[in-house]
């Protein structure tokens, strides 16, 4: 038994409606003993008063409901995105604004490499901010003509490779006839490769090998550090192809005394039959710890909207692209849902397009007739194009939603102009409708697709500004207060962890985000500027500056 520590703060935002703001919080054994005034808290007995946060603002630890620990591993590769981005060491990598900048940054790294054959991989490129300039193999040949070079786009759907990379992938020959392999004037591929059936096999030659795809201890540790910098105390890792070995890696890393975050590791529906998936996931529940939550399933229903692989309802894509791809058969989805309901295992389903959302809703409705469950909280992830009718149905079925608010900022202009057109772009990630229809809601970054940072995500949902500065979908804006609730209690509810985390109140885990600025005083446009000092997780203090 440890003693009681009482922290003072400039303001403590609790998300507990009974006492929304307090001045002090008492922590004992990693949990919240009480939150209120110092006089009240003192009545619990002996305590140590810790005033280190006296000039800070404390709020419940931020919860990221949809991210991938791969964000931690990606920093082993070279960042060449448009926006400034912070690495696990706290270094800000400035955004690159021209192809020359991209080449310069890659060249600097290239000069430090000893093995001349080792591939060099960059990530995060987003030419839509550079007037859609094409990056060609000749550009990357300026980095090296002899070393395989690749750059993965921010969307994850396009890979640029240099001539050496094309050669190793067996693509450096005329006569290529695939829409994913655009050709240059010389009849040879120009080095831009699209769609997974091309980028995956080609990526192997430029560093996207098995190790690149798998979760490792170093990546998990780096991810934990990124969480501290973003004020995050609980994050999903949505999802992993879990097996005993990988669960062992998670246990070892999160079990270290200084690991700063609780990871919620979802088991993805790849490589396992519905029966195996549900049985294995159910058997994992008991292995959950204070910093590792197990026993939840992630199902992927369709692809992505900007990759034109999401399944859309009529009339489909704005630019006339054919409808996207199913990644699961409806019968398999039904099998998983039924077994999971029977076993009491929660399922989160990736649905980007509104047709995929419709399939998930109808499938769950059918499964619930066979296995009624009054608190299943099956959650749709992304659910970017859902209609009001779909949200209404989700609310009545007891579903939750995690909307991709960051996507609206990063690709909203693209969706408006190209993928779904103005009307549907304005209803994308419809936070207002979700709340109005009684659907418990959170919002997410999908890191590494966009950077981890729930305060930014909250700002994106409150302002609905796109990267070009337009407010897109005024009616779907939510208040700053609602947005802050979404990234704390909202996320906790969707992961069925609201009994443990999400608010600062008696009995819950002592998980705090410690801030320099008061987010409740920010407006939708300034919320993203609120600075993070660090976190308290399970009563342990982590300062971003020294993590």
């Amino acid at each position: 038994m440890s003693g009681t520590t009482i922290y003072s703060a400039r303001k403590i935002i609790t998300m507990n409606p009974n006492r929304p703001m307090v001045t002090h919080v008492a922590v004992k054994d990693g949990r919240i003993l009480a939150a209120g005034s110092l006089d009240e808290l003192a009545t619990w007995g002996a305590f140590t008063l810790d005033e280190r946060f006296a000039d800070k603002v404390i709020m419940p630890g931020l919860i990221e409901g949809h991210a991938h620990s791969m964000e931690g591993a990606l920093w082993s590769f070279t960042y060449v995105g448009w926006f400034d981005r912070m690495d696990p060491d706290g270094k800000i990598w400035s955004g690159v604004k021209t192809v020359d900048d991209v080449v310069d940054r890659m060249s600097q790294i290239e000069k430090t490499m000893n093995d001349p054959n080792e591939p060099l991989l960059g990530w995060g490129l987003d030419p839509i901010y550079m007037d859609n300039v094409r990056v060609t193999r000749h550009d990357l040949d300026r980095v090296s003509a002899t070393r395989p070079i690749g750059i993965l786009h921010a969307s994850g759907h396009i890979l640029n490779v240099n001539t050496k990379g094309l050669e190793l992938a067996g693509l450096l020959k005329p006569g290529q006839n695939h829409p994913g392999i655009p050709l240059g004037d010389d009849g040879l591929p120009n080095g831009e490769l699209k769609s997974p059936e091309i980028t995956m096999p080609a990526g192997k030659h430029v560093g996207m090998d098995r190790a690149f795809l798998a979760a490792d201890a170093e990546g998990l540790r780096n991810y934990g550090r990124l969480c501290v910098r973003a004020g995050v105390t609980t994050s999903s890792d949505l999802g992993q192809q879990l097996n005993d070995d990988l669960v062992g890696v998670f246990e070892t890393v999160t079990g270290q005394a200084d690991y700063p975050v609780c990871l919620v590791a979802f088991c993805i529906n790849l490589g396992k039959s519905p029966a195996e998936l549900v049985d294995y996931t159910a058997s994992m529940k008991d292995r959950s710890t204070q910093r590792l939550e197990l026993g939840k399933i992630k199902v992927i229903a369709d692809g992505s909207i900007q990759g034109f692989s999401a399944r859309l309802q009529w009339p489909g894509y704005y630019n006339g692209a054919p409808n996207g791809l199913w990644y699961i058969a409806p019968d398999q989805m039904a099998d998983i849902y039924q077994r999971a309901l029977a076993a009491g295992v929660q399922v989160h389903t990736h649905t980007n397009g509104d047709e995929a959302t419709q399939l998930a809703i109808e499938t769950l409705e059918g499964a619930l007739r066979k296995h009624p469950d009054f608190d299943h909280r099956f959650t749709l992830q992304h659910c970017q194009l859902a209609t009001e009718a779909q949200f209404r149905k989700m609310g009545r079925l007891g579903m939750c939603v995690n909307l991709f608010a960051n996507h609206h900022f990063y690709w909203g202009d693209e969706h408006f102009a190209l993928t779904v057109g103005p009307e549907r772009a304005e209803r994308m990630n419809a936070c207002r409708t979700a709340l109005d229809q009684g659907v418990p809601m959170t919002i997410h970054s999908d890191a590494p697709v966009t950077p981890l940072g729930p305060l930014f995500t909250a700002a994106a949902a409150a302002s609905r500004r796109t990267a070009s500065g337009r407010v897109q979908g005024e009616h779907q804006r939510i208040s700053v207060k609602e947005a802050l609730y979404a990234v704390t209690m909202g996320a906790a509810i969707t992961m069925k962890m609201d009994d443990q985390i999400g608010s600062i109140e008696i009995g819950k885990r002592a998980d705090f985000a410690v801030l320099y600025d008061d987010p409740t005083e920010a407006d939708p446009d300034t919320l993203k500027e609120v600075r993070v000092w660090g976190t308290v997780q399970g009563g342990r203090i982590f300062e971003a500056a020294t993590i």
Binding site: G170, L171, E197, I198, P201, A202, L270, A275, N323, A329
Partner: protein, 300 residues
């Protein structure tokens, strides 16, 4: 020589597992590697399994099944690098996968050769599936991407229904050729185009008991492999053809599946000869010989 890869597509319940079991049973000395998404639903007949370990199932007769999960390319590379080498790799596509996408990937893996896309269609379900609210376009795309179509469960319906479904399939998958099943048997040669190579076994008429006819043609002259491939592929009575011909620049391996053909120029020598297979009653060996004569190059 590149290892040929066949993709087996079709929606759930079309009979892919039955077909896999059948192929493992009738492999007859061929070493087949079969990649499946997961073992869970793959009911491999117990008597065929010799050992199972972490994603790989050893099958009697030198075949294996391998679960690829989310790393199909890695699994393909493992199978490609195995010793002794596999004769043929088969990939069971998931029920909603588009086989052409898988074939594109296969074509990019060094040492592998896309062979054929075989799509299975349950005669009772296929038209219903093709009207399915969520699946219709996926099902039609699968059919359209087939080189060879295998209509399954035909013994459960009247012959007239089979003919109706075949007529309909001919309109939605105009370039695909049908693989018939007789008495529950399909000639493995037609399925995977595995002809007995001279170094393995003597060439013989491999189809004497099946619904297929075949002929082995040994060319006397240099052959233009492109002209030959095109002629075979354009002949609707030829289901498959495969073999070695002499070209002006060396030996070529030519392979024809349905209406698609390809050829590889080889560095080493092989006994010449091309096996052509077609459905009994439709296939005319003299036509095949005629195609061969037309492809002869007199200038070299």
């Amino acid at each position: 020589m590149k290892i040929p890869v066949t993709v087996i597509g079709g929606y759930l319940g079309a009979g892919k597992t039955t077909l896999i079991n059948y192929m493992l049973r009738s492999a007859n000395g061929l070493r087949l590697a079969i990649l499946v998404n997961e073992f869970g639903d793959l009911a491999i007949d117990q008597d065929l399994i010799e050992a199972q370990d972490d994603g790989v199932m050893a099958i009697s007769g030198g075949c294996v099944c391998c679960a690829y999960g989310n790393d199909m390319i890695g699994a393909l590379e493992d199978m490609r690098d195995a010793t002794p080498a596999f004769d043929h790799i088969l990939i069971e596509a998931s029920g909603v996968a588009l086989p052409a996408s898988i074939m594109t990937t296969v074509g990019m893996v060094y040492g592998l050769r896309p062979d054929a896309t075989i799509v299975l269609a349950d005669v009772e379900q296929i038209r219903k599936n093709a009207r399915h609210k969520f699946l219709h376009d996926t099902i039609l795309a699968q059919l359209e991407q087939a080189d060879l179509l295998l209509l399954t469960k035909t013994d459960l319906v009247d012959a007239s229904v089979v003919e109706d479904v075949k007529d309909w399939l001919s309109t939605v998958a105009p370039i695909a050729r049908f693989l018939p099943i007789a008495n529950g048997e399909i000639a493995l040669e037609a399925l995977i185009g595995a002809i007995p190579f001279a170094q393995r076994r003597p060439m013989e008429n491999v189809t004497h008991k099946s619904v297929f006819d075949s002929i082995v043609i040994t060319p006397d002259h240099n052959i233009d492999p492109q002209a030959l491939g095109e002629a075979f592929a354009n002949d609707p009575t030829i289901t498959r053809a495969k073999g070695f011909v002499q070209t002006a620049t060396g030996t070529a391996l030519i392979h024809v599946v349905g209406s698609r053909y390809a050829f590889d120029l080889l560095d080493d020598h092989h006994s010449l000869g091309v096996v052509c297979i077609g459905i009994k009653g439709e296939f005319d060996p003299s036509n095949a010989e005629k195609h061969m004569r037309h492809a002869e190059r007199t200038d070299a």
